[in-house]
Structure formats: structure tokens, C-alpha cells
């Protein structure tokens, strides 16, 4: 029997989990990842444990990536996008992989390129020890790629691991089945009246994950000082009938309250307010966790109207108090918008090529509904089909893997 091959599009937790399940059943897997670093959104998430693990699952993403890079049947193609898909006997997939400016084998992650780079943001850093190379070149910022005016990193790299003239590659893959695991896109809150993108201290929950990961505590993006008074605003872009976003993004209550508890543990002097519609249950230990959080975090059951910046650079949040129905203006150092999980618009072309159906919400229809797609060897896993937690994405990948085995008659 010839060995079967499955192409998994997306290297987030769902894609990695599906790849691992399949590889353990002796199927070869090619993972196509558009960004420079594998692991999806969740590889950037901070561990939210205080002394107790709060079951956010961030470490499990790290573990999956670790297992995937070590598995000889799995190849992860970062910096790659799909150019075309066609099907005769098997699927023939043509990929475009951007140049490998930094050689993974020779790079020692010394970080000299990042320190010496003359253009901010032109060298970007990974977040996992399994990101190899640990650095990548940001094509949009690099001066060499713009006008060849700087090649400093290439000159000073002690390992001679950088080649600024590296060429892009075309890769052709054949596959017996395809898994779409491209995940979600975070809602862009720019059109909400919260000043996102204008006021530096208004950040999204995903950006807060990054800050916690990088700094170990919350600092205001405007001046790097610790944030004293913070607010979380839930359901930004979810449960929003005006935008016709009729879904709960499921993960934001857990993510925000776990981060709030972590911040209180690390910065006990901080004051945190939590603006919400309904608090969703997350985790098996939700009841005691929520009870504890309510003692530390001020819970305010309303969604603020708008945010303005004071001349001192603080944020004035306007909301209507639930009990008194008064309009209140309150000053915060930093506001975190819990942005919803949205369908990934970038995939639409791939979705079209794969003949997948898209539901009213814009998420890919699950294969129970779309029997046609699974008969043709195209499957989906994880949040591409709708908001999912890390645990649910892993379970979804398992379910998909079994369907693939049945389809391949293994």
C-alpha cells in the first residue's frame, strides 16, 4: 500500500492536532502555514496560571507544536500560500513559499540581527523554542528589499545564516485529502467607538496576550508604564445584532477573566473592571474560579458607549450604570477589547477552490451539513467552522481525523 498524504492548511492548534493524529496513523502530512511562525494565534498566548493552572490550554499548543516538529511524517511549510488546487486522481496543490532569508540550520538564535537592525520591525521574533529559525524577516519593513540600502544583518550575522537575496520557491504537493484548518480572524474593532488604532492604550485581548507574554505584566503601550486602572470590554464584534454577528465567540469570557486574575496576582495594586453582557461558563472549575474573580474584579453589567482620550493621555469610558441608570464617565489607564472570533476572509479563495460551503455567519459549514465536501476528500477542523476554544479545536481535529481515515479507507 502506498503511503497516503494529507495536506493540512493552517498550523494552529487544530491543524497541528489533526496532523499529529494522522501522522500517528502512518499518514504523511504537509502543513501549509502562511505566516513565518507555526502555531497560529494560540502559540502567542500567555500562560495564565498563578500557582494553579487555570486550564487555558496555551501550554498544550506549545506541546503540539513540539511533537509536530519532531514527527518525521510531518513537514511544516511556513511562509507558504496556496496558489492553486486541482484534482485528478489525487489533489495536486501548488504552493508559493516566500524566500528563506534566515537559514534554520545555521541560525543560533543569538539575536544579533534583531539588535543591530536599523529599521524597527524589520526583524521579527518567534515565541516558541520550536520556532526555527527563531527570527524572520518582515518583507514590508526591510530596507534591503525596498531599495537595497541596508544589508547590515547579513554582514554581521556571526553564523552567516542570513541571505537577503534568497529566492521564493514553488512547491508542488500531491494529497489524498485536504484539511482546512485556517482558524479565525480577530474582529477589527476600528469602527467601534472605542478609539482602537487611535488611542495607544486601547488594545485587543490578543494584543494583551502578547504584552503579558513579552513583559510578564501589563504595561501601557503609550509609555511602557505599568497599567494601574484597567477595563475589559467584552463582546466587541460578537453577539452584535447590528453587525449581524449572531454568535458568541465562546472563548473571550474565559480568556479575559483568566488574564484579569493573573494580572491581579502579579500586579496586586491594579484595579480591574469587567464590562459584560453575560458571563459564559468556561472550564470545569468555573464556579470556584468565578467566585474568586468576583472578589478581585469589579463586574459591571453593561457595554460602554464610547471611549475618549483625555489631554493627559488617559481613557475616559462612558457607560450607563445598570442599577441607577445614570451615565457615568470613568477614567482608565488601559482598555482591553475582547474582540470576537470572525471568519477568515483571506481564505475565501481557497474555500472556493475546495468547493466548501460557507454558512450565513461566514464560517465554513461543518461536514455534517456539507456531505459533498467530505465525499470529495476535503475536510475542516477547528475555528474555521466557528468559534472554538483550544480544547474544542483539539477535539474537532480528532473528529476530523477519524473522518479522513474513513474516507481513505484506512
Amino acid at each position: 500500500m502506498t503511503e497516503k498524504t494529507v495536506v493540512v492548511i493552517g498550523s494552529g492548534v487544530a491543524g497541528l492536532s489533526a496532523a499529529l493524529e494522522l501522522a500517528q496513523l502512518d499518514i504523511s502530512v504537509e502543513i501549509v502555514e502562511k505566516s513565518d511562525f507555526a502555531g497560529g494565534h494560540a502559540i502567542r498566548f500567555a500562560c495564565k496560571a498563578t500557582d494553579q493552572c487555570v486550564k487555558c490550554g496555551a501550554c498544550i499548543v506549545e506541546e503540539k507544536l513540539d511533537q509536530a516538529v519532531r514527527n518525521p511524517r510531518i513537514r511544516i511549510l511556513t511562509g507558504s500560500r496556496i496558489e492553486s488546487i486541482s484534482k485528478t486522481e489525487r489533489y495536486a496543490i501548488s504552493l508559493h513559499q516566500k524566500p528563506k532569508y534566515i537559514n534554520a540550520k545555521t541560525c543560533s538564535a543569538c539575536g544579533v540581527c534583531l539588535q543591530q537592525c536599523s529599521q524597527d520591525g524589520a526583524i521579527i521574533q518567534g515565541v516558541s523554542r520550536n520556532h526555527s529559525p527563531f527570527f524572520a524577516l518582515n518583507e514590508k519593513e526591510c530596507l534591503y528589499l525596498a531599495d537595497q540600502s541596508c544589508s547590515r544583518c547579513q554582514e554581521i550575522c556571526p553564523e552567516k545564516a542570513i541571505t537577503l537575496d534568497a529566492r521564493a520557491r514553488q512547491i508542488a504537493c500531491e494529497a489524498d485529502a485536504i484539511v482546512l484548518a485556517t482558524g479565525f480572524a480577530p474582529f477589527n474593532p476600528q469602527n467601534k467607538p472605542y478609539g482602537y488604532g487611535v488611542f495607544k492604550n486601547v488594545v485587543t485581548n490578543l494584543e494583551l496576550e502578547d504584552i503579558l507574554r513579552r513583559e510578564g505584566r501589563v504595561v501601557r503601550p503609550s509609555d511602557g508604564q505599568p497599567a494601574q486602572k484597567m477595563a475589559f470590554i467584552q463582546c466587541v464584534g460578537s453577539r452584535d445584532a447590528k453587525l449581524n454577528h449572531l454568535w458568541c465567540s465562546k472563548i473571550c469570557c474565559g480568556s479575559a477573566l483568566r488574564m484579569a486574575a493573573l494580572i491581579k496576582a502579579r500586579q496586586p495594586e491594579s484595579e480591574i473592571s469587567f464590562f459584560y453582557i453575560d458571563v459564559q461558563t468556561f472550564g470545569r472549575d468555573f464556579v470556584p474560579f468565578y467566585r474568586r474573580v468576583q472578589e478581585e474584579v469589579r463586574m459591571i453589567r453593561t457595554i460602554p458607549g464610547d471611549i475618549l482620550e483625555t489631554p493627559e493621555g488617559q481613557l475616559r469610558v462612558t457607560y450607563i450604570a445598570g442599577e441607577t441608570h445614570e451615565t457615568i464617565e470613568e477614567i482608565f489607564d488601559c482598555v482591553v477589547l475582547s474582540v470576537g472570533l470572525h471568519p477568515c476572509k483571506e481564505n475565501l479563495e481557497v474555500v472556493r477552490q475546495l468547493n466548501l460551503k460557507v454558512g450565513d455567519s461566514g464560517f465554513v459549514a461543518p461536514f455534517e451539513i456539507d456531505g459533498e465536501a467530505s465525499n470529495s476528500g476535503v475536510f475542516s477542523a477547528g475555528a474555521v467552522g466557528g468559534p472554538m476554544s483550544i480544547a474544542e479545536s483539539i477535539a474537532s481535529a480528532g473528529e476530523t481525523s477519524l473522518k479522513i481515515l474513513k474516507y481513505l479507507e484506512i
Partner: protein, 534 residues
């Protein structure tokens, strides 16, 4: 190895698993408490299914011995016992529901009922005419004081839509937090609102609920949105239900020695058990046995369990971890290992032995065995973790670079250390990492040897409490630290030279910070000097 699987369960999840296994033409024993267990007709014929599947109905598990690949499960039916030899076990028992009458101070009557009763009536009603003819106002009480979940909310909203479809009734749903975090529920919430269902949410205040003589319920409250005092007279009041493990599922958790979560479900609340795994290899839990699950989620679990079986069938022997073994010449049969093994891999017969297939190689037994009778099969590993010499060149006279030995769990801190290095974080020059399989495997003698090899300070870096794959590693590490620190203090040595900290694999920043902080403390303490006179 018998190649057989035991499936325990009677409901939808168990049936789905049976179907998955039988299409694989694998041998299956089904133990169901139900009267019948219908085998799937497709895609295999019923005759063939019967050939592969041995079905025991009205049967419970009495006891179990052995380990993965060699379980001996005693099944009991009407007092008659039979032993089944199986390689692996899947538990997919159904849930139990407890109506919340007492939360609302209500008694069950014809007009006050639990959600399941209503659902049954609605189901029967579709065949037997309208039982709800005189009922104008229906009130649902859900998740006030006790947290609810999306599974219950979906059932309530489905019931509302049915009640509303036939007659225009006034339907109120009184709740604290509306649990819409499941696929399609926000949409259904909007649909029910459009159908005329009114939602009243409570944040701090609670409704006044009084059950009057005719069985009807009067409810009084101030609406939080409008601030208006409202009174409802409910012709029919439906109370929500708490979903808990069935009594039998609880028995099974005890029989199979499975970890339980806070709510008594037979799966530890530990991310390493995702999706259907337990602390015991070869025992899987699916659907309502492991948590509150909607039907689609139960099927997802069922598929994950079936997938795991296929993996086991393809690669039965697990060679991913090193296994512990007992030297019976040294063993005193004190059963410390049996008591401590989180994976129940220790087997007590005429001799005490370790089932290699069940052993996860955590080394907790090694660290605690009072006779030193346990070692890893791979001897290098034992030796490697045994001599953690922290070699630091010291200038003549004073030590200015504290030498630190950090015992790091391979699942967490050892990875964090590598990440810290990638991130270019500054770390103390005199530190040395000893990678260990689990924080709980670091024994008293490991720690003392580290000090004996000139360490100024020793750290045990474990996973966070509740994240340890062996569940108890951080606690063992903590106990050992406390034990030795006390002795240190009694001989005039600073207790702070030995610490336990918790880290996750993605905490590179914190790894470096923890070590730098420890080095600072050690610098303040100076080199180890035992006080004269103590």
C-alpha cells in the same frame, strides 16, 4: 493481548462508538445497563456485527484488575459474574440530572416541573393532542444562584419554540447569565426573542418566588433594565436541571481508580487528559462520563475515542517514555509505590511489579521507594538525574558566582529554559539544568547530592498545580523542599537555599526572571557556612 475492547454505556455516545469500532471489524464487548443495546445495522450487516460484538445487557462492572493490554474486568448480571479479558476500555455512560426545585423554594406539582419532564410532555404532546391548552403564562427559571450551561439553555430555547409554535403564550425566561457559548445559540436566542419569548436577567437582586395553593407560582421582581416592579403569575413553571455524573459513572470512576474533576466527572481537570484520556492508559472516557456535553459534542468525543483505538491497534506498544522497574530482591513490599502511582501501573501479586505499558515514566515511585528498589529501564536516565554536579569555577576565597542546580520538569521548565535561551534572556552564569521526567521524581537524595556537589542553591521547577501530567508532582516537590528546609534551618543553614517554583513550557521570560531572582537571594546569603555551635 486479546485485541478486544470493552465498551461501557447505553446511550447515544456509546452507540456511536460501537458503530465506529464495528466498521473496523474489531472485537468488542459491550456492557450496558440497559434492557437492549441495538447494534448498528450499517455499514456492517447485523449478523456480522453480532459476530464481532459480544453484548451484555442489564450488566454492570463489578471490579477490574490489570493494566492496559491486559485488563480483567468482572461483569455482573443478576448476581452472576463473568470475567472479560480486554486490552482497553471505553466508558461512555450517560449523565444524571438533578432538578433545581430547592434553589427556587419550589415543590414539584403538575404546574411546577423540571425541564426534562416538560421535554417529555412536549414530545408526547406531538402525538396526543394539546396538554397545555389552559396554560397562558410559562416561566422558566434557569441559572439563578447555581450556574447553568449551554446544554440546558439550548433545551430550554427549543422547548420555548415548540410551546410558541402552537399557541401564543407568554413565555418568560428568568436567568442570571445567559449561557450562549455554543454553536448556534446566540442565533437561537434572537429567534426566540423574535417569537415573543421575554428574557429577564438578574445581576445582584433575586426574584421573589412564591408557590401558591393551586400550585401556580407568583414571581415578583424589579426589572433591571426598566427599573419597574413586575409581577408574574405562572400557569406553568419550569425549573432547570444540574447535569452531574450518574451514580453508576461515579462507581466506575472508583472501580477503575480514575481521577475525578471538581464535579465528580470521571476525568481529571487536567489539560493533559484532552480529549478522552484518563490517568490510566487504555481507559478512555467519552461524552457525559467526562463532562457536560451536548449531543454533537458527545459524537465528537465518540469519534476521538474511536480514533484513539485505531492508534492503539496500529501501534500497540508505547515506547515513548522510559519505564520504571522494581528489583524484587530489594523490594520489601511496603506498597509505597502502589499507593503513590498516579497511573495505577503498580501490580500487586505474589510480587510487586510495574506494568510497563501503563507506566508513564514519571519517576514518582523511584523518588519515594524507601528501599531504593526502583529504577528506570534505561539506567542512564537514573544515573543522569542522580549526580547533578554544579561545576562552577570559584575564585580563591569567596564564591562570587553562586552555583545553582535547577531540577526542571521536562514537560515545562526544561522547555521554558530553552525558550529563555532563544529569547536571549540574561541568566545566571552559574546555573545548571538537570532535566527530570517530573518534579515529583526529585528525591531527597537528588537534592542532597546537588548540595554535596557544591551547589549554593537548588531549585525544583515543576509544572503548575493542576497542570502536572502525573497530577501530584508539584505537591511531592513541595513536601521535599519543606522537609529538607526544616533540617537546614536546624543546622543553621538558610531554608531559602532550596526552593520550588512552578513554570509552564512557554514561560521563557519567567524562567530567566526566576533564576535571576534566586541568584540575587543566594548572593545576599553568601556561600554556605554552617554556624558553629549548631
Amino acid at each position: 493481548m486479546t485485541g478486544k475492547t470493552l465498551l461501557i454505556g447505553s446511550g447515544a455516545c456509546a452507540h456511536r462508538i460501537a458503530e465506529d469500532i464495528l466498521t473496523q471489524e474489531s472485537d468488542l464487548i459491550i456492557a450496558s445497563t440497559g434492557e437492549v443495546f441495538g447494534l448498528p445495522k450499517t455499514p456492517v450487516s447485523i449478523d456480522m456485527a453480532e459476530e464481532w460484538a459480544m453484548v451484555y445487557t442489564k450488566t454492570k462492572v463489578h471490579s477490574c484488575r490489570g493494566a492496559v493490554g491486559d485488563f480483567k474486568v468482572v461483569l455482573e448480571r443478576n448476581g452472576e459474574k463473568k470475567t472479560a479479558a480486554v486490552d482497553q476500555i471505553i466508558i461512555a455512560e450517560d449523565e444524571k440530572r438533578i432538578p433545581g426545585f430547592s434553589y427556587y423554594g419550589l415543590t414539584q406539582t403538575a404546574k411546577v416541573m423540571a425541564l426534562s419532564q416538560l421535554e417529555k410532555l412536549l414530545h408526547d404532546n406531538s402525538e396526543h393532542g394539546d396538554l397545555f391548552s389552559g396554560i397562558k403564562t410559562v416561566v422558566f427559571l434557569v441559572g439563578i444562584d447555581a450556574e447553568s450551561n449551554p446544554v440546558i439553555l439550548e433545551e430550554i430555547m427549543q422547548s420555548c419554540l415548540k410551546l410558541q409554535a402552537e399557541h401564543k403564550r407568554k413565555i418568560y425566561i428568568l436567568t442570571e447569565n445567559l449561557k450562549v457559548a455554543a454553536t448556534g445559540l446566540e442565533k437561537m436566542y434572537q429567534d426566540t426573542k423574535a417569537a415573543g419569548v421575554l428574557y429577564i436577567k438578574f445581576t445582584h437582586a433575586r426574584p421573589d418566588i412564591v408557590q401558591v395553593a393551586d400550585g401556580r407560582v407568583r414571581i415578583e421582581f424589579t426589572d433591571e433594565v426598566t427599573g419597574i416592579l413586575l409581577r408574574l403569575a405562572a400557569d406553568l413553571t419550569i425549573v432547570d436541571e444540574t447535569i452531574v455524573p450518574s451514580d453508576y459513572a461515579t462507581d466506575l470512576a472508583r472501580i477503575f481508580e480514575l481521577e475525578e474533576d471538581l464535579n465528580g466527572f470521571a476525568q481529571g481537570d487536567n489539560v493533559h487528559r484532552l480529549t478522552v484520556f484518563t490517568n490510566r492508559k487504555g481507559i478512555l472516557v467519552a461524552g457525559p462520563t467526562r463532562s457536560v456535553k451536548s449531543l454533537p459534542d458527545q459524537f465528537t468525543d465518540a469519534d476521538n475515542a474511536a480514533l484513539s483505538l485505531r492508534k492503539i491497534e496500529r501501534h500497540p506498544a508505547d515506547q515513548t517514555t522510559d519505564k520504571a522497574q522494581i528489583d524484587n530482591g530489594k523490594c520489601a513490599r511496603c506498597l509505597t509505590c502502589y499507593r503513590l502511582c498516579p497511573y495505577r501501573a503498580i501490580q500487586v501479586n505474589t510480587r510487586v511489579s510495574i506494568a510497563p505499558a501503563a507506566c508513564e515514566g514519571c519517576g514518582i515511585c523511584l523518588a519515594e521507594c524507601p528501599r531504593g528498589a526502583i529504577s528506570f529501564l534505561d539506567q542512564k536516565k537514573t544515573a543522569g538525574s542522580g549526580v547533578p554536579a554544579a561545576e562552577v569555577k570559584r575564585p580563591a576565597g569567596e564564591s562570587i558566582i553562586p552555583s545553582i542546580t535547577a531540577f526542571c520538569c521536562r514537560r515545562s521548565a526544561a522547555s521554558a529554559a530553552q525558550l529563555a535561551a532563544c529569547m536571549g534572556k540574561k541568566m545566571p552564569p552559574g546555573f545548571r539544568i538537570v532535566e527530570v521526567p517530573c518534579g515529583g521524581s526529585v528525591s531527597l537524595s537528588h537534592i542532597l547530592k546537588a548540595f554535596n556537589s557544591n551547589a549554593d542553591g537548588v531549585m525544583i521547577l515543576t509544572c503548575h498545580e493542576g497542570n502536572c501530567h502525573s497530577e501530584v508532582g508539584p505537591r511531592h516537590a513541595q513536601q521535599r523542599v519543606e522537609q529538607i528546609s526544616e533540617h537546614f534551618r536546624s543546622i543553621g543553614l538558610e531554608g531559602g537555599r532550596l526552593v520550588k517554583k512552578t513554570l509552564a513550557s512557554n514561560m521563557g521570560l519567567e524562567f530567566a526572571g526566576t533564576l535571576i531572582e534566586f541568584e540575587k537571594q543566594l548572593l545576599e546569603m553568601g556561600p554556605i557556612r554552617l554556624k558553629a555551635g549548631n
